[in-house]
Amino acid sequence: MIELIDLKKSFDDKWVHKGISLVIPKGQMTVIIGRSGQGKSVLLKEIIGLIKPSSGKVLVDNVDITKLTGRALQNMFKKFGYVFQFAALLDSLTILENIAITLLENRKSLKEAEPIVKEKLALVDLPTNITNKYPSELSGGMRKRVGLARTLITNPEIILYDEPTTGLDPITSRIIHELMFNMQQKLNITSVVVSHDVEIFNYADNVALLDDGKIRYYGQAKEVWQSNNPYIYQFVRGLPEGPIKTEVKS
């Protein structure tokens, strides 16, 4: 279980998070939605420990990750997988080397790593003949799946997805959502997804809405469309009028 307790974060004078408290249940998919620039990606990085909050706690299995540094933090990373918005594959490495990087750094040879890589590629529905290609030779959707395969290589308990379908067409987005859902079901992984895409509600268990530095709504994904909460009502329907402030008025 992940628990965020009164999390606050500022960059210079700008407060991005003004006190976020949220419980992310184990083995479920929790989606964090909100308008662009509300600090959703920052929140994910605080959860994994890449960014330290200004104050507050992030408890992962009752360990406060904000207090960890060095080796202790590196050990905590082993619990996590992180799927980056644009996959963050290393340009200079082949797909095989990208997915196997953790194994290669732990003194496994490419030959030893190859069958494990192919197994993970099959899990994300990618053909095994792409292993010798470079990231620049793949489509955006394929790169995201390679990013997921790279994450799965460490058998994480928790996977954080940063806008996994941004920039993808609706069909590929659906394939990615189904893949995430299947992963979560098959491997009983705790998933935290940052997204703008309301389609994800069909696959998620819980939804949290972040606006102006605070969680304004938290509830089950299947209840989102029926909710009378003014924030979630405005957001899912894309209404310009409501409590969520917009910079551009029609």
């Binding site: 994994i48 990373f77 963050a88 990087i101 953790t102």
Partner: protein, 260 residues
């Protein structure tokens, strides 16, 4: 007006100390990683090739022509009192003690220091460095230490070639353009140049190798602000690296060769 002035001075001083502190922590982390983890030898070799082999041509060209120019310019002065025999030692000592290491440092800073900053900067803004961290890979061990060590290792070799080419460039001018006796050039060098001059020059080059790679890696590793941030980091790595090379050259000259 006065308040704004003091505010500007104060914030500039804070920024400067913040930069020095942040760079010091970066270097200390690199040193700690070097001694607490195994060196990625393959990456060290790759970086040595990138910094060394790829900078070889520009290094020998600049070294060779610097020596040639030095011979011509010093001839104008020395011929007035018949001191042509001092041209060889002047060229050799200048190349070995100063111009070889400094020119190599500046050229490699422009070529490889900037490339390190740009590469790591691009990795930073595309979240590749964060990705490595989440995969439990020590980014200092994987990205920073091999580059800095390669700089320290390769610069003395490049500098040595620059020195040799500079002295040979001077020799060609001395014998072929000025039409003077080759033995005069070489005998003067043998008389005045000592082994410590060469060792001192190579120590300087190693320090410059550290400076240009550490600055390049630091600016790249700490890049923010997208593509513009990468451009700024790349430019700053060359500017700061070059300035630090020139400043440290003075102190190294005093320490290694004495003020006289």
């Amino acid at each position: 007006m006065a308040l704004r002035f003091f505010n500007y001075i104060g914030s500039s001083v804070i920024r400067l100390f913040s930069l020095i502190g942040s760079f010091t922590i970066f270097v200390l982390n690199s040193i700690k990683t070097l001694f607490s983890t195994k060196l990625k030898f393959h990456k060290f070799i790759v970086q040595s090739e990138r910094i060394g082999v790829n900078s070889f041509f520009i290094t020998i060209i600049t070294g060779g022509f610097a020596g040639a120019v030095l011979a011509i310019q010093s001839f104008k002065g020395f011929q007035k009192f018949g001191g042509e025999e001092f041209i060889g030692p002047v060229v050799a000592l200048s190349m070995i003690r100063e111009l070889g290491p400094v020119l190599t440092g500046l050229m490699v800073s422009g070529r490889s220091g900037s490339a390190i900053a740009a590469e790591l900067g691009a990795m930073r803004i595309s979240e590749q460095i964060d990705a490595l961290k989440t995969l439990c890979i020590d980014t200092y061990q994987y990205l920073v230490v091999p580059r800095i060590l390669a700089g320290i290792f390769v610069l003395p070799f490049l500098s040595l070639f620059s020195m040799i080419c500079g002295i040979y460039g001077g020799y060609l001018i001395f014998t072929h353009i000025l039409g003077l006796n080759p033995d005069t050039y070489t005998s003067g060098i043998k008389e005045f140049v000592e082994m410590w001059d060469v060792i001192g020059g190579l120590i300087k080059a190693a320090v410059f190798g550290f400076i240009l790679t550490a600055i390049g890696a630091y600016k790249g590793y700490r890049t923010d602000g997208g593509a513009m941030g990468v451009g700024i980091a790349t430019t700053q790595s060359v500017v700061i690296g070059s300035i630090l090379i020139i400043i440290s050259n003075y102190f190294l000259a005093v320490i290694l060769f004495g003020p006289g």
